[in-house]
Every structure is written in structure tokens, then in C-alpha cells.
Subunit: 246 residues, 2 copies
DNA sequence: ATATGTCATGTTGTCAGACAACATTACTTA
DNA sequence: TAAGTAATGTTGTCTGACAACATGACATAT
């Protein structure tokens, strides 16, 4: 019996820690839009680090549109409406309410992607989807961790294929980001779920319903089927994960 | 007559330029996931800048999950599935096809937010929405740039209020980011649109339909009404903007 | 022969100091 | 009163150094 270990996380670097603290102060309203940050030298003194470290932290915040800096003047907190990125904090995945909201966001967008895919898909798209459905079917009756992981990966690939078939690259990127974040935080839970869930046939039927609707170019049916699956998946995931009720 | 000037953009800094070039190389596939980047010193020599500048650039990419670096080893391109942020490049807003896709993404999510808002809204939410509708009505018959801008801002605020009423903070953040990016790139076009569009009454009616559905807690009607408005708005915006047909 | 310990090397992470580029303010001058 | 000028402070960039760490080669012991 080979015991599997999870990859261990590397220690946080100083610039990331400082970026996180500044971000939190801004999100909490301790520093408001328009306010001027302390000078880099002052921040370096306060945090007890070199100015280069502070600069790396500020560089990160600038690239997110959280702050703007002007040479010779200073760095200022930007309006909340000027953020250039959408990101989800690590901690959100550990809280029941916030995780439910994240999965709600995903469900909506996966449903829309399936809707669009039904209209735009070509034969190559269908083949790619069918490959994953086939893997799921073959793995259906088998047990064990390896097969659970195989079904999990097949499912992820199936919905990546659907997103791609939508013809809208922004859905691909956005859903890919959401899936990656969820995988990063909840992969082991999701795979355990795959192994344990007693109603595998019903889950497979959910995927098949989505696929068949896309084959038939029935966009509304695809949307409903995808929404059904991801809503169910969210319920299963939340009930199985070990979450805080903040 | 006071002529208005747009805020002028400040020159790009070296770390941002380097981060952009590296990102592009990765997106283009010139450097693939798993590949090791040149050492910081080598990059500094190639670009003809100091290592601190390269480090700031890499620090940005790390915070996006595009690369991972390990002390004593090097920096490596991460798998595309491990990106921690969703961002939209500036250039996308100038291309017809990509802008259409961005607006499609927004339409879908605004519709879902309205759907959720119909179920979760409280009286304070409705008041906030009604304030904006009132502003729109009062401004309806008036002309001029100022009134166009007023209607534009009222509309933005209305849908921010709806997103907030959804009770899901991630919709608020995501839609806020999309709206901010669109505003940044197309504000003047959108306002001109507000001033010029001959069918103001019909547009106002679209907003009122969304609002009334949310008042009546008719979630499906709210979704359809919001989808209708944003789809129409997308068509208007694209037809008026000066876009490349890449 | 295999496993363990040690060291040299190269890379990233952090520190310190310096100067350039720039914006603001106060001051000077026409 | 208006325009020009200098002083000051901040961010942007450069340079050099050392610390922290990982890797691979080598030596040693069992």
C-alpha cells in the first residue's frame, strides 16, 4: 500500500505577505480610495524590510488596478471600480456561504457556455466531448481511487471542451480560472466525492443530458441540463467538504 | 463653451512592459508550461535593465499564477489551469469580435444577477434602484452632454445596485470589474450613445421592466428583461464604436 | 554495492545605498 | 500679477552584496 502525500506548500515571501496586508487594509476600508499610501521608505521601515520588497508588493497591487502610483508624488488607492482583474481569495473556499456563492457563479456561467456551445459546436468539438463521456462510461462500474480521479479529470475536460465549443474565449478563460481555483482548494474532497457517491449513474446521466442537448443543438435544453448538473454538484460538494459557518 | 479633454495616460514603466512581454510569450506558446525561464540576471541582461526591474515583473506574474518560482532553482511557467485571476487585455476592447464576446459574458452574468436579485432583494435595495430609475426619468427629455453622462452613470449605478441585491458578492465584484473595464475603454462612446440614441423611451422601458420584475419577485422575468437590455445595449455599443475587424 | 553525509555551484530572496526622473511648493523676478 | 526658478520630497532605476535554498557531484561509511 503506497500512501499518497499532497504537495506541500512553500512558505510565503515577504512581498506577497505585504501585498496581502495592504490589500486587506484597502478592502476593510482602513485606507480609502483616493488616500495616499505612506512612502515606500516609510512602509519599508514599518514592515522592517528593504524598499525593494515593498516595491514588489506595490507592483503587484498596481497590476491589479488596486493602486496607482505617480513618480515623484506617491501611491494612491484607486477607486474600487477601476480594478482590472477578478480574483477569489484562498480563504473563501473554506467558508460555506462564500463557497456556495462561488459555485453559484460557476453554475450560471457553465450553463451559459453550454447554451452557446449548442449553437456553435462543430464535429471536432463533439468528438472531444464524446471522448470524455466514453471514459466516464468505461470507468462507471470500477471502484478505487484511481478510477475516481479518472472520472474527475474526465468531467473537468468535458466542460472545458464545452466551454471551448461556445466559441467565446472569455468563457474559456473565466471558467478555466474558476475550475482551477476550485480544484486547487477542493480537489481531494471532490475526488472522494466521486468515489463515494452512490448515485453514479444519475450523475453520468446528467452529463449525457448536457451532451445530447448540444449534439441536438437544443440550446435551452443544454442550458437547463448544465445548470442542473452544476447545481447538484454544488450541493454534493458543500455537504461533503469540511467548511466553516462563519 | 468649455471643451473637455480626456485624462492622458502616463508612460508605461519598465516592469510592466517586461511583464507584458513575458505574458505574451507564454500566451503565444513560445514558452510552455513547465519550461524554466532564463535566470533573472540573464533576463536583466537581455532586456538591458536592472535585476530589480525583472523581479518586479516576475512578481506580477507570480501573483497572477502565471509562473511559479522556487528559491535556488528558478522560475517556471505554470499550467494554464492554475491561474488565479481573470483579466481582460486592453486590446480586446478595440476588436469587434472580442468586444462582442465580452459583452456576451456580461449580459449572461447581469441576467443571472437580476434573477437572484428578484429573490433576495429587500426594501433598501429597491429604494436604491428606484433612485436611479427616478434620475433616468427626470433626465429623459433633457438634452446635452451633461444629461447624457447623468443617464449613463445612473444606469451603471442601477445595475450595481441590482448586483448587490443578488446577495452574492462575487457577482458584485465580477460585474463591477467588467463594467469598470468597459467604462475605461468605451466611456466616451457609451455616453455619446446615450445622447444620440433616438429611442430613449424604449431604453428606459427596458430598465423599468427589469426593476418591476425585481419588485414583483418574478425572477424569470427579471432575467429575461436584463438579458434583453444588455443584448440591445451591446448591439448599440458595437455599432457605434470604432472597431477593428481583426 | 548501497546508502548516507558533505561540499561546490548556481539561483532566487533580501538588503543597502546611490542617483535619475518627476511633481509640487515656495520663492524670486520681471 | 504672472512667469520663471530653485528647493524638496517621492517614485523609478541601477549597482553590488550577501543570505537562503536546491541541486548534483563527490566522498565516506556500512
Amino acid at each position: 500500500m503506497e500512501t499518497r502525500y499532497e504537495k506541500l506548500e512553500r512558505p510565503r515571501r515577504l512581498p506577497d505577505e505585504i501585498a496581502a496586508r495592504l490589500t486587506r487594509q484597502i478592502d476593510d476600508g482602513a485606507i480609502k480610495p483616493g488616500d495616499k499610501l505612506p512612502t515606500e521608505q516609510a512602509l519599508a521601515n514599518d514592515f522592517g524590510v528593504a524598499r525593494t520588497v515593498v516595491r514588489e508588493a506595490i507592483s503587484q497591487l498596481k497590476s491589479d488596478g488596486i493602486i496607482n502610483s505617480r513618480q515623484g508624488v506617491g501611491a494612491f488607492v484607486a477607486d474600487s471600480g477601476t480594478r482590472t482583474v477578478f480574483r477569489i481569495g484562498e480563504a473563501c473556499f473554506a467558508k460555506r456561504k462564500e463557497l456556495a456563492q462561488i459555485l453559484q457563479l460557476r453554475t450560471s456561467n457553465e450553463a451559459e457556455a453550454a447554451f452557446l456551445a449548442a449553437a456553435h459546436r462543430n464535429e471536432a468539438d463533439l468528438d472531444a466531448m464524446n471522448d470524455q463521456i466514453t471514459i466516464m462510461r468505461e470507468s462507471l462500474e470500477k471502484s478505487g481511487a484511481t478510477n475516481g480521479e479518472r472520472r474527475y479529470e474526465a468531467e473537468r475536460q468535458l466542460y472545458r471542451n464545452i466551454a471551448r465549443a461556445s466559441g467565446n474565449g472569455f468563457f474559456v478563460d473565466f471558467l478555466g480560472m474558476l475550475d482551477g481555483r476550485i480544484d486547487q482548494s477542493l480537489r481531494s474532497v471532490a475526488i472522494k466525492n466521486m468515489i463515494a457517491v452512490e448515485s453514479r449513474k444519475e450523475v453520468l446521466a446528467e452529463h449525457e443530458a448536457v451532451f445530447e442537448a448540444i449534439v441536438e443543438q437544443d440550446a435551452e435544453a443544454a442550458r437547463i441540463a448544465a445548470r442542473t448538473h452544476f447545481a447538484n454538484a454544488a450541493t454534493r460538494l458543500i455537504s461533503r467538504a469540511n467548511l466553516a459557518d462563519v
